[in-house]
Symmetry: C2
Subunit: 270 residues, 2 copies
Amino acid sequence: MPDPLYRQIAEDLRQQIESGELPPGSQLRTELELREHYDASRNTIRDAVKLLITRGLVATRPGQGTFVVDKIEPFTITLDIKTGFGEGEDTAYATEVIAGERTPAVSAPRIEIQPASMAPELGLDETAMVVSRHQQRFIDGIPWSLQTSFYPMHFVEQGAGQIIVAREMSDGVVRYLEDVLSIKQAGWRDKITVRAPDQVETAFFRLPQDGRVPVFEVRRTAFQESGTPLRVTVTTFPSDRNEFILTSGDVPDNAHPGADDNALPVEGSA
Amino acid sequence: MPDPLYRQIAEDLRQQIESGELPPGSQLRTELELREHYDASRNTIRDAVKLLITRGLVATRPGQGTFVVDKIEPFTITLDIKTGFGEGEDTAYATEVIAGERTPAVSAPRIEIQPASMAPELGLDETAMVVSRHQQRFIDGIPWSLQTSFYPMHFVEQGAGQIIVAREMSDGVVRYLEDVLSIKQAGWRDKITVRAPDQVETAFFRLPQDGRVPVFEVRRTAFQESGTPLRVTVTTFPSDRNEFILTSGDVPDNAHPGADDNALPVEGSA
DNA sequence: GGGTATTTGTCCGTATGTATT
DNA sequence: AAATACATACGGACAAATACC
């Protein structure tokens, strides 16, 4: 029994793309032309194109057409910055970004006071509140990631008033907390999952609205030496233009071509 | 301007699910019933259901109906096993799996000789060949991951003949290479990406055939102390039932509930 | 095992809306 | 303003998978 028609058509188009017959950036024939070519209905053509979108091979633009995606060199995000130098990761990142040839940008933070249930990893009481600092981040002008950090509200009452000011902190919040409250970040735990984007994410990353392109969610819980969590940082990245690299043990610097060329941190000066 | 109808319907059903009105495992009304209830066409209902499938909330079973998915406790995969003990990660994993309360299983490896282009990270000549060892891996009987390891063919000619034998190596190939050829693994680099599953993966993981549920691909390149790659291991995991954890610095053992309960390694005795 | 009803999967044709040029 | 192309929505038909008698 053969595959369904829409999958046969998708397969045919996929081969044309991967063989180079349809190079990146080129335009596919319109749905009506494909309809005649394959002797199928327009809906069937659309089902085939949807499959190619899911696989990241093409993108549709209303009023224009369907295009083979330009293979963006993916942003490479390193998750295992060497620590133990007595610094938070925030400052280390700045130099990493400069080392790459891409130019990062970050929006001013949007500050909110929210219930502690937004960041259960902090282990706070149900009635407690947290400060959230939300930022949009770009690389070379491309929407790159959305990041929200949560801090216990009692940090503010203890004297760290700057974290509820909607201005970027050039040295990073982690450094600030150490300076003001002597709260030191000893390590962190990342949880990486993949899920469909929410409405905010589809809008910011300009993803197809039906959730076919998922996002990475990196949930970083950072701890003091005592084991008490000091912050939770949630960062989302569209999965179609990001990859993660992490190393263990002794590894040569340029192990495979292109892997390190665009090395980027997972966190800026949040 | 309101959202499209199919998204409104999806939103309504989503709320019913997340509010508990439609508990996990329960069956949704049939497409024809929903069609009457929302006064929409069957295709529009189907578009709404497709969205819910993409978001991992429901699953359809031909001939039966549409069901709210049972929330599987995700498999947690730790990527940062402490090294420096002079052991490969393979043996360390065995104990980790036993520590968890889930029972792993692995198929006998399928061995193939393939061109070196299958694993460009090994940096071999175009005309060279590699040995691939492919395994299916299960947790509690659930298809969990597909793994293929690539080794330079010249390892066999140098005396490591066991790696082309289609039998599991209880102590791991890495250990074997060290014993026979004194080739020692000094570290590795992981690249984590997300993509649509191929046909083999959709069949093994029983994912929807239109590629709505992506898979994690973890590409591990392991190096000798000299910096020469000794193997490439590619492992894929369905993203709807796996998450990755990695830590840096000092982190308490049980930082957030459930995170470590099912700790699993990314590699078995490949 | 066979037959039938139910339910989802595929495919068609058509009409209208919306974004872009 | 008009033309083009994708997005949404409708309705209908048959196939395939499953469950049940």
